[in-house]
């Protein structure tokens, strides 16, 4: 009994420093930004800062723009990542080995650098435009446009989503698939009955990360997005840094939390469920 109590105290002491840090840099800021966002600047508390988000024309178009870019990016990223992860799991050969070795590299490239590279490659007089010129093709406007943001999002998020998904697919035992194949199940059937059900949780985790990554992004839309409408990340930074309206910025931050709350809640819950199943 004594030993257990000692262990429990020891465990709590070991965990508490990082937990306190978590409180300071995540929990407290979120709580106080919510309180700040409710103050109306005249000493009282109401929802006027949130009302502004929906009544101001520019802000409303920013929100719609952000949602559109996010949904399009998520769909494209997950489609490509899932296909790539499946391909890497069920193919073999030199080519696949080579992809396995290299696909994670973009994960480690600084965001500013990749964005800058994309700007130079896809810009008006960029490399791609030069390469296509002899073929008689011209590029549509990509940089300083929503297409540019979507392309950058794809660049940033595919490696990460593929990493999560391929780690989930490797976890599916080959014996399950082989025995299904032995009973004469076709490829599509195997996918729908075994592979997807066994990996859909990770699929949703990947969706959560991509969704939040895009809504909370700043570098790419800041550097290669259009001036108006803006992504919420850029708009938030401007409201905070340029216009110095901290209460309004806090309200916008909290609004992005609300947009992601369903997925965030799902993510934490599914992780907790997974942990319980492992014990």
């Amino acid at each position: 009994m004594r030993k257990e109590v000692k262990q429990a105290i020891g465990g709590l002491i070991m965990v508490s420093p990082s937990f306190v840090l978590l409180l300071v840099i995540v929990v407290i800021p979120i709580v106080q930004s919510f309180v700040t966002s409710l103050s109306n600047g005249e000493g009282g508390y109401d929802l006027s800062r949130y009302q502004f988000l929906f009544t101001d024309k520019g802000m409303r178009s920013n929100i719609l723009f952000t949602l559109k870019v996010t949904v399009v990016s998520c769909a494209l990223v997950l489609l490509v990542s899932y296909s790539l992860a499946l391909y890497m799991r069920f193919s073999s050969g030199k080519l696949v080995d080579w992809i396995r070795k290299t696909y994670m590299i973009p994960l480690f490239i600084p965001g500013v650098i990749a964005t800058y590279g994309l700007m130079n490659l896809l810009g008006n007089h960029g490399w791609l435009a030069r390469l296509l010129l002899p073929l008689g093709m011209t590029l549509p406007r990509l940089i300083f446009d929503e297409k540019g943001i979507v392309i950058a999002n794809i660049w940033f998020n595919i490696p990460f989503a593929t990493m999560l998904l391929s780690s989930a697919l490797t976890g599916i035992p080959a014996s399950i698939i082989e025995s299904a194949r032995d009973t004469g199940a076709g490829k599509l059937r195997i996918f729908l009955r075994f592979i997807f059900p066994l990996s859909y949780k990770t699929f949703l985790v990947a969706l959560t990360f991509v969704f939040m990554g895009v809504i909370g992004s700043f570098t790419a839309p800041f550097l290669l997005g259009p001036n108006a409408p803006q992504m919420l990340g850029v708009s938030m930074q401007q409201v905070f840094g340029v216009f110095q309206e901290r209460e309004q910025a806090a309200a916008m931050a909290f609004f992005t939390f609300l947009l992601c709350s369903v997925l965030g809640y799902f993510y934490i819950r599914s992780m907790a469920g997974e942990e319980a199943a492992n014990r």
Binding site: Q7, I9, G10, L12, M14, V15, P17, S18, F19, L21, L22, V24, I25, V26, P29, I30, Q32, S33, L95, I99, P106, F108, I109, P110, G111, V112, I113, Y116, G117, L118, M119, N120, L121, H125, W127, R130, L131, W155, M163, S167, T170, V205, M212, G216, F218, L232, G233, M236, Q237, F240, G241, A249, A250, F254, T256, G264, Y267, M271, A272, E275
Partner: protein
């Protein structure tokens, strides 16, 4: 040629084309920067520069804040890595090996760092830092960098500690080793690959962090990515390309060094429970 393609099969060809597009899409922007960095003159619509030179390298190194920003970035990344090791490794060991109350609540509380969109979180922190006077300070920037690394710095080592068979530690204890000795010579070395991956990832993450630093560190804490923001808008693209290579070099060196340790499985354990 026709018979050749038939022999490989249509499927292989489509595969090859798709993968080529893929490789070009991901490598193109980076390759473009390398070419730009060494170009002297490159006018539209030439495919390649007609003059190669190092002049932009000299130009970039002559800028005062460039050298300063490199030093500052490495200093901050080192502080962040050291601090997160000191804070997170004990917690990771406790999560893997010790029974204590509310263990799961603590473990999952770290998910909170990744359950909110980043820019929203940074703005919230900036609102708080403004009130307590942490804007434009080193401490403020270090704290912002910690957000991104807190979770995988705890979770990857937790997974590493868990993967060690308890039997190995027990047998060491059976032959009379003290708990500290067991930890030093059995547990820690076996968990080292996981801890290394997490540390490398932390270091790189801090080195590359731009958005939070931009919000909280303005105007005095200028790390490399912040300098990059201004180089992009103020200087010719070749100067930006040179600086991009300088900023990416540490990443590539560390990645090559840690290549054997990094796998999708280890990395994924930092973001989800398996």
């Amino acid at each position: 040629m026709g018979w050749y393609f038939k022999a490989i099969g249509r499927r292989r060809i489509i595969e090859f084309i798709l993968l080529t597009i893929f490789a070009v899409f991901f490598a193109g922007p980076l390759l473009n920067l390398v070419v730009l960095a060494f170009s002297g003159q490159w006018t539209y619509p030439d495919l390649l520069p007609h003059q190669w030179s190092f002049k932009w390298w000299r130009f970039v190194f002559e800028q005062d804040d460039v050298a300063k920003s490199i030093g500052l970035s490495f200093l901050i990344a080192t502080i962040v890595t050291a601090l997160s090791i000191v804070l997170c490794i004990p917690a990771a060991y406790a999560f893997a090996r010790i029974r204590f109350p509310f263990k799961r609540v603590f473990l999952f509380s770290f998910l909170l760092t990744h359950a909110f969109p980043k820019m929203g979180l940074y703005v919230s922190i900036a609102v708080l830092f403004y009130k307590v006077g942490l804007m434009n300070t080193m401490l403020g920037v270090v704290l912002v960098h910690m957000i991104n690394v807190l979770m995988f710095m705890t979770w990857i080592p937790t997974a590493a500690f868990r993967n060690i068979q308890a039997a190995q530690e027990e047998s060491a204890r059976d032959v009379g080793a003290t708990p500290l000795r067991v930890f030093r010579s059995i547990t820690l070395p076996m968990a080292m690959p996981g801890i290394m991956v997490a540390s490398v990832f932390t270091f790189l993450n801090s080195l590359d962090e731009a958005q939070g630093t931009f919000l909280v560190g303005i105007p005095d804490i200028k790390t490399m990515p912040i300098i990059m923001y201004s180089i992009i808008s103020d200087f010719p693209s070749s100067a930006g390309a040179v600086f991009s290579i300088i900023l990416t070099a540490p990443t590539i060196i560390l990645l090559v060094a840690a290549q054997r340790l990094i796998s999708a499985d280890v990395m994924a354990s930092g973001f989800q429970v398996k």
